[in-house]
């Protein structure tokens, strides 16, 4: 294990911190160069949630906040494999998910988009990868929504993902998009990613995981920074 950030963010793939087309970066992206850090114990480790007590319906956003019926929209099942940069599976790692509803409205109180809330859809959940690094959850396909970045700006359909991996350097927050979305071309958050990495954010329609008469399937594989498949032991 190297003491230095051997697996730092790959600048050929990752978005730059400042991307002026995404106007919020202008006042919020650090402007000075980052300082390279010799890793100490804290950087070689991170929070592990293997024992976190997931709720029974945490991995089913179509059911986990039902009040008086089923949520409206197109039911989907999303699955994939989480690996490190060597391709080794990341077992028992936590994934947090949040998204807009089918109409493109977030439950979040700040979201004032004039589209209906769905009383039966909160739009958040969690799942854990299995021993092979595979995960799966059910949800409703999120809608596109307008935002204030520029005239007639619309976010493509997307699901937010938050992952931890084994050390704080493998921490990842990303967004999964859907194949063939015409809004991707105009979305500065997606376009901020370097050309080499963009396609990795688009899930693939997956007929094999599609459940007959129930839900369309999408595959979204995730590669976390780092080369360590197992947590660092500091005993």
């Amino acid at each position: 294990m190297s003491d230095f950030a051997e697996s730092s963010f790959d600048i050929e793939v990752q978005p730059s911190r400042l991307y002026t087309e995404y106007t919020s970066t202008i006042l919020r992206a650090p402007s000075k160069p980052l300082i390279i850090l010799k890793k100490s114990l804290a950087e070689k480790t991170g929070p592990l949630f293997e024992d976190f007590n997931l709720g029974l319906l945490d991995n089913d956003l179509t059911k986990n906040s039902i009040k008086n019926g089923q949520p409206i929209g197109e039911r989907i099942v999303v699955h994939g494999k989480v690996t490190n940069e060597k391709g080794q599976p990341m077992p028992h790692t936590l994934i947090e998910i949040w998204q807009a509803n089918a109409a493109g409205r977030y439950v979040h109180k700040v979201d004032q988009h004039d589209a209906p809330l769905d009383p039966n859809f909160l739009g958040t959940g969690r799942c854990m990868t299995d021993s092979e690094g595979n995960y799966r959850f059910y949800t409703i396909k999120p809608g596109a929504y307008p935002w204030g970045n520029h005239h007639n700006a619309w976010r493509p359909n997307h699901i937010h993902f938050s992952l931890f991996g084994n050390e704080i350097s493998s921490r990842l927050i990303t967004q999964m998009y859907f194949p063939g979305d015409p809004l991707l071309e105009y979305d500065p958050i997606y376009q901020a990613v370097k050309a080499k990495g963009r396609e990795l954010l688009i899930s693939k329609f997956d007929l094999d995981i599609t459940e007959p008469n129930f839900a369309l399937g999408y595959r979204f594989d995730i590669v976390l920074r780092g080369h360590n498949a197992t947590p660092f032991e500091n005993r």
Binding site: S16, R17, L27, A42, P47, S65, H108, T124, S162
Partner: protein, 187 residues
Amino acid sequence: MQHHLKTDKMMNTMIQTPSQTVGPYFAYGLTPEQYLYDFKSLVSNRIVNSDENADLITIKGKVFDGENNPIPDAMIELWQNDGEHKFFGRFGTGTDIENHFVFQTTKPKSIEGQAPYVTLIVFMRGQLIHSYTRVYFSDEEELNAEDAILNGVSVERRNTIIAQKKAGFYEFNIYMQGQNETVFFAV
């Protein structure tokens, strides 16, 4: 998964999944109880409870943008591991009227002669990649003076990562840009 493959000198490795912003609407998913949504929180900002440990500290601060305005939609994560205790907490700046983040934890021990510190990770709309920083403590003058990481930071910027001891808490403000820009690390 063919599209993930790249050829390296030594081995096939995978291309990192690109980072994307946490956006403005993370609260009901990532900090639901703090923002009063009906979903169980993963963790809170009160990492250590008063009945468990007498040695509590509070770390408190605001996050400022390039125009020195406090940021109301940042999410801060705290991680500390001194070999004895591993603590993780998370807090959004949107529920405090002045947009503070607050953590209640214990002060980490010094290990291997280093000055004690905790790691903070900053997420927010307008950050396509999260930012890592460290919180050192102003009442650890001797260890701070000899710490290799602190000494690797220019004198003018060193104070940006040293929390100042106040009555009852340590103050640690985060400046994303400008003259007082906080030191962020490549982790």
